[in-house]
Subunit: 427 residues, 2 copies
């Protein structure tokens, strides 16, 4: 196999001509394929439907501690749910709040409260500074960056490798600048790279000596139990923060959006008891209680299934052939051609394609014109600006394998065309 | 019957001695009664349990427009739910957002976004002013006042009579002061007075000419369908605002917390399409979607019951004997004695006791020492400060009648003791 980079003008022209024929063939098929959204598939959702049988008209609606889930009260969540989801996060009941259907919503809410009122230990609300900054590992999750943009928080991009974000850069900013107030992390099977932070990275994060006394790590552990091929251990950051004398430095978030149902799952929050108490003193102004019936439904279902790991095994069985299809198609089509590389995550929801610099936007244009929708280029970066124009996120969870394969074939053809176009323009 | 005010020292002493005997008798009973919380009763919640049968493991989870309620998406709510709850509010689909389990949470959220980013037409975020102010009709709802206090919003108290808040005072402030940015209203079966705004008040509110271009009425219509004895019509404020040329001046809120289940109901928001569009442009940063499964469950249940009015009739049948018990006990014990008066609402969740000035705190002390818990004095006013110390809110919904009667007897005895104590201290 010869890389496109090693071809001469004639060879490139011939290769492109062949690729354009394939491209046209796909175009004529009037495809309407979507690899944009990290949505669970119908098959996954169907598997969760027995959760709807956990509470019916004849059911007692009290948790094991006797709280009636149907009425007001229990601001921090049903105790049984706080225990159950705390165990997932690695926090005690007192360190856990169980909230509404979306952990992203609670992240936003924590950030909004910090802007309006500050966090435990703040000298003043974050919104009262001329400017505050967040560390944003890239590539990362567009919703994290969107919140910062919405609140006018400056984003400091820090590159991520297989171990996690670059700690030297992080230390430099966090330990010198008191306006660096926070940091986003997706520490396990990260969106979009699929990497898991190494023990060294977690320990170094926990041992940071922030210039801001009210610095907070927003630890979005959305994919904590989402192994597809193999689990990868992750240290408990709260434990590490305690050991390092920084017990209040981290806010942990998790949800069942990709364990049970996306959009009608359960979100949860873990932090030091001092942070939980402080958060309670603020959230008491914003709600009477979150949906405890859904908490009860969830805990009963997950227990009935023998626990979260059993449910996740079934998800993995559904997702594995889809990830395989992407890897296989990309390998078959692109291996050794110099038209881009891709990640091979062991879990999570995404595969990241790393295109040749300056070609991601063009690949997306070509793919789109051929009826395949994917997350736009730049979504992985603050302000939708990927400076090297090379990251494209592939979400294989929703479409069936028979749609994924043609979608990835189209994608691979487009990656090659974009590569050749760029090479030709440089000759 | 002689009022305490017309008694001499000797008569007061005798009356007090009799009352103290009764008080001691109740005290010896070791009562543990609670008339503090506006919680639906177990009987009401039981009646809603068939809602849990609307979705089971074999159920199709698409709404009538084909959206799968189990997955991400539909940021503004399932279309079928927007239609259904919009009809309750008197808004079109495009004027309606269906949100999570709590309308209070969405009120907070709307206020938080206004503070952080402003509303449609704001020159700058409300939080960027040195000080902003809200009109707060009193007596009112402690959670509204708590939010203002949390955000540092100054509260302008405006007295409420049977027609609603005093419009002359409101006009004076709203039309002259551009830092008056908003106003709380509970327009129907209000908390705690139980009054409903007259057509005149609604029309005058809608016709306000606020000095602030971004003034918003927070129209918390929590009890819109909560007639117990008789319905009282309320004008649609959005319609009136449109007629008056102020289409964007009102945010309407409602929920099913006291239609289905408190804490696991559905909240909804109604406003002009321009406000809804603007709100969408902000809330897209805070969540992917709210719990659509609960929306679907609700709409199917309410339709299966032949609509909300049928459900509310059943609630009224449960609540009526409880309200009757309070009215009867208060009449029997207090009528004509000069120890306080009380409201006689036609619906809602509360009865307000208006004690003799300066005695509410003492009544609460006495009642508490006798094992009866009620909402503390001052809860009906900003900063928990009822300047005349006279409003006490009675919540009859939760306890059974056989507990309500002794609780109200204790209350009546205490109201009389406090009255006599005050008279004695003035002789």
């Amino acid at each position: 196999m010869k890389t496109y980079q090693s071809m001469n003008r004639q060879e490139l022209a011939e290769a492109k001509s062949e690729l354009m024929k394939r491209y046209q063939k796909y175009k004529d098929m009037d495809l309407a394929l979507n690899i944009a959204r990290g949505n669970p598939s119908t098959q996954q959702l169907d598997m969760i439907m027995p959760m709807m049988d956990m509470i019916n008209s004849g059911t007692d609606c009290r948790d094991m501690y006797g709280t009636d889930a149907r009425n007001y009260g229990a601001l921090l969540g049903l105790r049984e749910a706080r225990e159950y989801f705390g165990a997932l996060l690695g926090t005690t009941v007192e360190e856990t709040i169980v909230v509404g259907a979306s952990s992203i919503n609670f992240m936003y809410d924590c950030l909004a409260r910090a802007m309006l009122k500050g966090v435990l230990g703040s000298e003043k609300p974050w919104g009262k500074y001329d400017k505050i900054k967040f560390i944003c590992p890239v590539p990362g999750y567009d919703r994290h960056f969107g919140m910062c943009e919405f609140f006018g928080i400056d984003m400091i991009q820090v590159l991520t490798d297989e171990e996690g974000p670059d700690m030297d850069t992080i230390r430099k900013y966090v330990e010198s600048d008191p306006t660096v107030k926070g940091m986003w992390c997706i520490p396990k099977f990260s969106n979009p790279l699929g990497i898991t932070y190494s023990d060294r990275v977690v320990k170094e994060l926990a041992a940071l000596k922030p210039a801001a006394k009210d610095f907070r790590i927003f630890w979005d552990n959305s994919y904590m139990v989402h192994a597809i091929y193999e689990d990868v251990p992750l240290l408990n950051i709260l434990d590490e923060c305690k050991k390092a004398g920084n017990p209040d430095m981290v806010y942990m978030f998790g949800s069942t959006s990709k364990i049970t149902m996306a959009g009608s799952g359960i979100g949860f929050f873990g932090a030091s008891k001092a942070n939980v108490d402080f958060t309670e003193s603020q959230v008491k102004y914003e709600t009477i209680s979150w949906d405890k019936m859904n908490m009860l439904r969830h805990v009963r279902f997950l227990k009935s299934q023998g626990g979260v790991p059993n449910v996740m095994k079934k998800h993995a069985e559904i997702l594995r052939p889809k990830f395989d299809a992407v890897f296989d198609t990309l390998s078959k089509e692109l291996e050794g051609k110099g038209a881009g590389t891709w990640t091979k995550p062991k879990g999570g929801y995404f595969i990241t394609f790393i295109a040749n610099d300056g070609t991601a936007t063009r690949i997306n244009e070509l793919v789109k014109a051929c009826g395949v929708t994917m997350t736009g280029p730049g979504a992985t970066h603050p302000y939708h600006n990927d400076p090297d124009d090379r990251y494209l996120r592939i979400a294989p969870s929703f479409p069936p394998v028979e749609e994924l394969i043609p979608a990835m074939e189209v994608f691979a053809v487009c990656a090659q065309i974009a590569t050749i176009e760029q090479l030709e323009s440089r000759i």
